[in-house]
Symmetry: C2
């Protein structure tokens, strides 16, 4: 992965990587991105779903969206995806930390005009979120497609940061009578809630029953 | 809460709020923020822990952090906190959505110089993350304090967005034989993993055993 000043790893570089495989794996394990852009010196950070195909991310939203229209001007975008894996409870306040995987992507985005490419990108986002769903649902009508903006963001540069494992305390603190360890956290699916207007003979699909965030 | 163009709710304003109580509740339920700022036209979005006290957010990191030094110049910051509550699976691809709570905060940040205020802010961040921990651990030494930068961000403006409930399909789609509903997602603690170097007679604290993200 290309590296310039903006994607260079400065703080704790040992936790970082510019390896495409690591970056793709984290992007595929997540589904929520925080998209950052600047408008007249003011930063905006907007949460949004996304999909990935090779070195491209897809974002979508309303064709009336302020963010998507702004991004289409070709402004530099930063897309950050963060997965929380646990709280790291050290013996000292100072060494408390978080186990996490995160990726920061830099690039510019362009709206997809071609209808077929747009449907393909929407399918990518949908399958990224919950694999198997797209083929089950009513696909987008012409009007719905017109009302939807889909952006393609070429990943120009990216970096990953990962922390795993136990707390790392100062050697002299290990003797202190203070509990220390990791409290793992996981985004977990709860039983699906069928829509109240669902016909009673419709079974919950397997891909809903077996859904695990990040399992593609 | 003050509202100007940057915090005005445009897309789906019915999902939005400028009510301080709503905003504070979401900020208190989360612990991970995505901090956005601009440097020479390039946007950066950095995941970080935070704490809240009244209308102020606290961020911390290494005194050598590029982000914290940059923010201390008084640049406009956008801090976004997003909590994912579930996937909304509609009958049409178009009406798929996510149940979530998010807050976008606008403000400027300043480093805290005074040592007592700095410790107090670190305590706020720690208690925000896991209540009860601070009193159990070794507090920061003078050198650790020097190595830590703590920023106070006054919440100048903020907006919240919340989506709850079932999918909302087009009326004619309700008759389609397509499963629809909500797949709730929750950040869930798994059993704590004690540090391998822990003295065997140290009990896991109650606040670890009973930890629930967002329960303050």
């Amino acid at each position: 992965m290309k590296v310039t000043e903006r994607s260079e790893l400065r703080r704790l570089p040992k936790r970082g990587s510019h390896d495409s495989a690591v970056i793709h794996e984290i992007l595929d394990a997540g589904f929520l991105a925080h998209v950052g852009f600047c408008a007249e010196g003011q930063s905006f950070v907007v949460p949004t779903l996304y999909g990935r195909m090779d070195d491209r991310l897809y974002l979508h939203g309303s064709a009336a969206s302020r963010m998507l229209k702004h991004l289409d001007r070709g402004v530099p975008v930063c897309v950050t995806v963060t997965l929380v894996d646990g709280l790291v409870l050290a013996r000292s306040a100072f060494h408390h930390s978080m186990n996490y995987r995160s990726v920061m992507v830099f690039g510019t985005a362009r709206m997809i005009a071609d209808e077929c490419s747009k449907i393909e990108a929407l399918r990518t986002i949908s399958e990224h979120l919950i694999r198997g769903r797209w083929n089950d649902v009513r696909g987008p009508s012409e009007n719905e497609l017109k009302a939807t903006a889909v952006l393609e963001l070429e990943i120009e540069e990216a970096s990953a940061k990962v922390r795993t494992g136990p707390p790392l305390d100062d050697e002299e603190d290990y003797a202190l009578p203070i509990w220390a360890g990791v409290l793992p956290l996981e985004l977990t699916p709860k039983p699906a809630v069928a829509d109240a207007r669902l016909a009673s003979d419709l079974q919950t699909p397997e891909y809903v029953l077996r859904y695990q965030p990040g399992r593609k």
